[in-house]
């Protein structure tokens, strides 16, 4: 796939240079890139799904290596791998089912397909998911209707390809389904804010006092939604040094007419005793329910726990990471420029001091992320609803397949 390589390289560069940051932007762009990878992929005659997955893995490996801290990249790569697997299974299932199905629904399907191409794909994907997964809270009730709806559409799909047994059309079918499913994924990433903020009124009551730290778009939309529903509440915004994103959030909230108080980060402990709820955004949610969040969040979570204030994390499902963290403060962190903290000009004279072995006397540490252990989190609000930290591994099992956790190109498989 020579056409994709420049695109991949460009994105890798962007990631490496931290030109694109923030899990939402990264997730979206990764999904778009992978979609074009899939569409450029030339399908072989045998073992198409495995070859496609391998191509995705190859790209994913590069992307993850470019910025291992942006866990959203890995998440999206794994999601796409999972999608391929699902589509593969569902298409083979369709192939089997299709033999015993009459052609009576053929016309109906075609017209439906023209009107709502994505819808049918979504239903298909949902069915495929069901086929892969054990029953879960989300799918407990929707099992029956989905399967009936699907058997019809799937059967029709099978009708068109299955009987003829044309390999090329079948492979086109797989590719098409995968691309459609990735399109759904992108839609999901885009609409996660709406889905999350719909739940705002369920969690924010009248005259609530909310504390947040730094700036998160999810939190902003969440609070906006509550404000639009005529809830009146008060927000304390910790400024989130050294990037002072809290100021931005405060400004945005004030423009919407929310009562906002900006406090310094150091005053979090002093103020938390008068706060009803802490709502923060996250960088990533790990499989154990721990949160990789903007720096300073662990401090807020500890203070909230001390005063028994609920600590609520709002995050889209693209931030769910199937990995378990090990020493995340150090290993899943990124150190930024010290100039955020110290003025270089002012401290240039300090840089001269050094001990005999050449190590500098002054280190300036400016990490980006903080790890909040799951015991400090009261609730996760994702686009699929509220979940407790201990449920996270289950939610993750719905989005990812277990053998994709390590994104690595398999040497045995043949690449196209």
């Amino acid at each position: 796939m020579p056409d994709v390589q420049p695109l991949v390289r460009e994105f890798v560069l962007k990631l490496k240079r931290r030109k694109v940051e923030g899990s939402h932007a990264v997730a979206r762009q990764t999904a778009e890139l992978l979609r074009s990878v899939v569409s450029q992929h030339r399908m072989g005659s045998t073992n198409q799904a495995a070859a496609l997955a391998d191509a995705i893995r190859g790209v994913g490996e590069q992307l993850i290596a470019a910025n291992p801290i942006e866990l959203a990249v890995g998440n999206i790569v794994r999601r796409v791998l999972h999608i391929i697997k699902e589509e593969d299974i569902s298409s083979t299932a369709v192939g089997i089912e299709g033999l015993s199905v009459t052609a009576e629904s053929d016309d109906e399907y075609d017209s439906e397909n023209d009107d709502h191409p994505t819808l049918s794909a979504a239903v298909l994907a949902a069915h495929a998911r069901n086929a892969l997964r054990a029953p879960s809270l989300q799918t407990l009730l929707e099992d029956i209707p989905v399967s009936t709806a699907l058997s019809r559409s799937a059967s029709s799909a099978g009708d068109s390809d299955g009987k003829s047994g044309d390999k090329s059309s079948k492979s086109r079918k797989l590719k098409h389904d995968v691309i459609a499913a990735i399109g759904d994924l992108i839609d999901e990433i885009d609409t996660c804010y709406d889905q999350i903020s719909e739940q705002a009124v369920e969690h924010i009551h009248q005259n609530e006092v909310i504390l947040t730290l730094g700036r998160s778009r999810t939190v902003k939309e969440f609070l906006y939604a509550a404000k639009e529903k005529k809830r009146s509440f008060r927000v304390f915004v910790a400024e989130g040094a050294p990037r002072y994103q809290g100021h931005v959030l405060a400004k945005e909230l004030v423009e919407k007419g929310v009562q906002t108080t900006v406090i310094t980060d150091s005053a979090v402990f002093a103020m938390i005793s008068r706060v009803n709820m802490v709502i923060v955004g996250a960088h990533a949610i790990m499989a154990n329910g721990g949160v990789i969040a903007p720096v300073g969040m662990n401090m807020v979570a500890l203070a909230a726990q001390r005063h028994a204030v609920p600590f609520v994390v709002v995050a889209g499902s693209h931030k769910l990471c199937p990995l378990y963290p090990h020493n995340p403060e150090v290993l899943l962190n990124e150190l930024k420029s010290p100039s955020d903290l110290l003025d270089f000009g002012e401290f240039s004279n300090c840089m001269n001091f050094s001990t005999q072995d050449g190590t500098p006397l002054l280190n300036v540490v400016n990490p980006t992320f903080d790890y909040v252990p799951p015991k400090l989190v009261s609730l996760f609000i994702t686009d699929t609803g509220g979940h407790s930290p201990s449920y996270m591994y289950r939610l993750i099992a719905e989005y990812y397949s277990a053998d994709d956790l390590v994104v690595k190109r398999r040497s045995t498989s043949t690449s196209s």
Binding site: Y244, H247, Q259, T260, M299, L341, E346, V365
Partner: protein
């Protein structure tokens, strides 16, 4: 990670080398010597030579560094603006002049309790300090004017008469309060009363001390949501404070002033004739503008200003010095409060000064009284601040070992002295300076530490969890320690202590005993101080790209809150290091019981506590508990 693990294990009390540290007063290898030193050091007037004995055995001066080194450093770092080097000769003079005066017994306790001199070495080194450092050069004590015997006798008689009148009036009203006080302070009654000064205290306790005992319960602070009282206070005030625009509703009870406009106003009035003494005025301006902000420095500057004011004071005719000077000082204090709310340490110092003024015998001539007050102030500064800091350093230094990673928050003068001293002793350690905006006091500290060759890491308070894994000790200063064990300190201290507690790192708070206060406080909201809110909106002054709040500070929905203090709960603090030893936070209650005798001596009740069998039991229980529950610094 590995070295950290091993050091953690040693804190559990396995290593004999480390078990030595802790309540050093007990680990004295030679208990009889300790007892002897305790009795002799407590209050004997010739105390200058027993000073080291009054401290713990860990006070052995480091062999490598000459004593004056420490003293110099201490004085340098402590007294950037106006140090009061009270020379030994002056102190002795004052004490001597007090002692050979032939006024009545009542005054002995007053003088002798203050006659414990700092070690000669320290004083000598102080004298070495160049006088140019002083802005307010202390004047030598004036020799008291010689009156004829008959004259003096006549004056004394007259004053006794007048005092009797006052006493009979006040005893009835204060009988109740006196009773409650005697119940409250049983410890001080149990002190070994063999020493002449304390013995005389018994006599004096029947005297009129109602006046100062009444002050035991501090008057409720002015609540700024009480419009009536605020109006009244405003009429009296000199400083023209404007209310801030967007006041935070939660803090209506605190003064929320617009900052930045009253300073030029006050400066322009500098040469007007005011009821406020110019030196006090100067300190007020410095305090307002933030030129002086460290609580020790503020306290010393204020006391020195009062000293100047007392020097220039003369009693108006038909008034007594006690009452007139007290009201004068009260006027100064209210001026300072208008400039900026006083810190607790300053409040304690003012209480001390008023107490001294009230206790001045009426028999004393004006110049004598002034001289004794001035020397009292000098001694307060010397003993309660300068020497206290050195003692704290000598205690805290036992907690610094090689390969330690010490974390400190913002900039505390005592903690800096500890680092300096440890570095001079050749200990290899690394300092993590945690800072917070908007003050960024830690930058100065990093500058100074790096210049001395101490390896540092600088970070901000949000990143504290990142570094806490590697930290072995947290040293912090405090603005005050309240009697429920809470540490009242600059905002952010609680956060640091909380995170350290969560990571199992011991938190050591260094605080001079004169900053203890009997107030109790559960949160940081009931009593606090609000800084300039606009500082937040222009927080990174050098980075224009971040000034997001510049244009919307006048929006009514937006409030900026710049808290100055917070309250750390006592369970986050492993140990408090004071000039009387190292105590667990729960023990502060013993301190607070004695806070009424703040101006006499803490060490006796503390020693009697340590030596009593009941306390031994408590102490062992404490050890067992702390070993079981969390990693603590265990005492032998």
């Amino acid at each position: 990670m590995d070295p950290r693990r091993s050091t953690r294990a040693s804190t559990g009390g396995v290593e004999p080398r480390f078990r030595q540290v802790g309540f050093v007063t007990i680990t004295n290898p030679n208990p009889t010597a300790a007892a002897a030193s305790s009795s002799s050091s407590s209050s004997s007037p010739q105390g200058s030579d027993v000073y080291p004995g009054s401290l713990s055995p860990v006070m052995i001066p480091p062999p490598r560094i000459p004593d004056h080194h420490l003293a110099d450093d201490a004085a340098d770092s402590l007294l950037p603006s106006s140090p009061p080097p009270p020379s030994s000769s002056r102190g002795l003079d004052a004490a001597a002049s007090d002692l050979d005066g032939d006024y009545d017994d009542d005054d002995d306790d007053v003088d002798v309790s203050w006659a414990r001199h700092p070690p000669a070495a320290l004083l000598e080194s102080k004298e070495d300090l160049p006088d140019t450092q002083n802005q307010c050069t202390p004047v030598p004590v004036q020799q008291k004017q010689k009156l004829s015997k008959a004259e003096r006798w006549a004056i004394q008689e007259a004053q006794r008469l007048s005092r009797k009148l006052i006493d009979t009036g006040s005893t009835a009203s204060s009988a109740m309060s006196k009773q409650s006080k005697t119940v409250k302070t049983p410890l001080s009654k149990h002190l070994p009363q063999t020493m002449p000064p304390v013995a005389s205290d018994k006599k004096t306790s029947e005297r009129p001390p109602d006046r100062d005992k009444k002050k035991d319960v501090p008057p409720p602070r002015i609540q700024f949501d009480d419009a009536h009282r605020v109006e009244k206070a405003k009429k009296r005030s000199l400083v023209n404070q404007a209310e801030a625009q967007n006041r935070v509703e939660l803090f209506r009870h605190l003064p929320q002033y617009a900052h930045g406009n009253q300073l030029p106003d006050l400066e322009s009035k500098n040469f007007h004739l005011y009821p406020v003494h110019p030196s006090v005025y100067k300190v007020g301006l410095q305090y307002l503008s933030g030129v002086i902000s460290s609580s020790n420095v503020c306290c010393m500057a204020m006391l020195l200003a009062f000293r100047e004011a007392i020097k220039d004071y003369s009693t108006p005719s038909a008034k007594t010095l006690n009452r007139d000077l007290t009201s004068k000082i009260s006027g100064y204090v209210s001026f300072l409060i208008e400039c900026r709310p006083l810190s607790i340490s300053m409040g304690n110092a003012i209480r001390f000064l008023k107490n001294r003024i009230a206790k001045i015998p009426l028999a004393l001539s004006e110049s004598e009284a002034k001289a004794s007050l001035q020397s009292d102030i000098d001694r307060f500064i010397n003993e309660k601040i300068i020497v206290a800091d050195q003692v704290i350093v000598s205690h805290a230094i036992t907690k610094v070992r090689d390969d330690d990673v010490l974390l400190t928050y913002a900039s505390s003068s005592v903690v800096e002295m500890i680092f300096d001293h440890a570095h001079e002793l050749g200990k290899k350690f690394h300092v993590v300076v945690v800072d917070s905006c908007p003050n960024n006091e830690g930058q100065e500290l990093v500058h100074r530490l790096v210049a001395k060759g101490i390896s540092c890491t600088y970070t901000h308070i949000n990143a504290i969890s990142y570094f806490m894994h590697e930290v072995t000790r947290v040293f912090m200063g405090a603005s005050s320690i309240l009697s429920n064990g809470a540490v009242y300190s600059r905002v952010g201290t609680a956060v640091v202590a909380m995170v350290a507690h969560a990571f199992g790192v011991p938190v050591l708070v260094c605080c001079e005993a004169y900053k203890f206060h009997e107030r109790v406080q559960l949160d940081s909201i009931c009593s606090n101080e609000l800084g300039d809110p606009d500082v937040i909106s222009r927080v990174p002054p050098e980075r224009e790209d971040l000034g997001h709040l510049k244009n919307c500070t006048y929006n009514e929905n937006l409030q900026l809150l710049n808290l100055k203090y917070d309250t750390t709960p006592s369970d986050y603090v492993s140990m408090i290091i004071t000039d009387y030893g190292m105590v667990r936070c729960s023990l502060t209650i013993y301190f607070s019981i004695n806070s009424s005798c703040l101006y006499t001596n803490y060490i006796l009740p503390m020693l009697s506590l340590f030596l009593s069998p009941a306390f031994f039991f408590l102490k062992n229980l404490n050890i067992i508990l702390s070993m079981l529950t969390k990693l603590q610094i265990v005492r032998a």
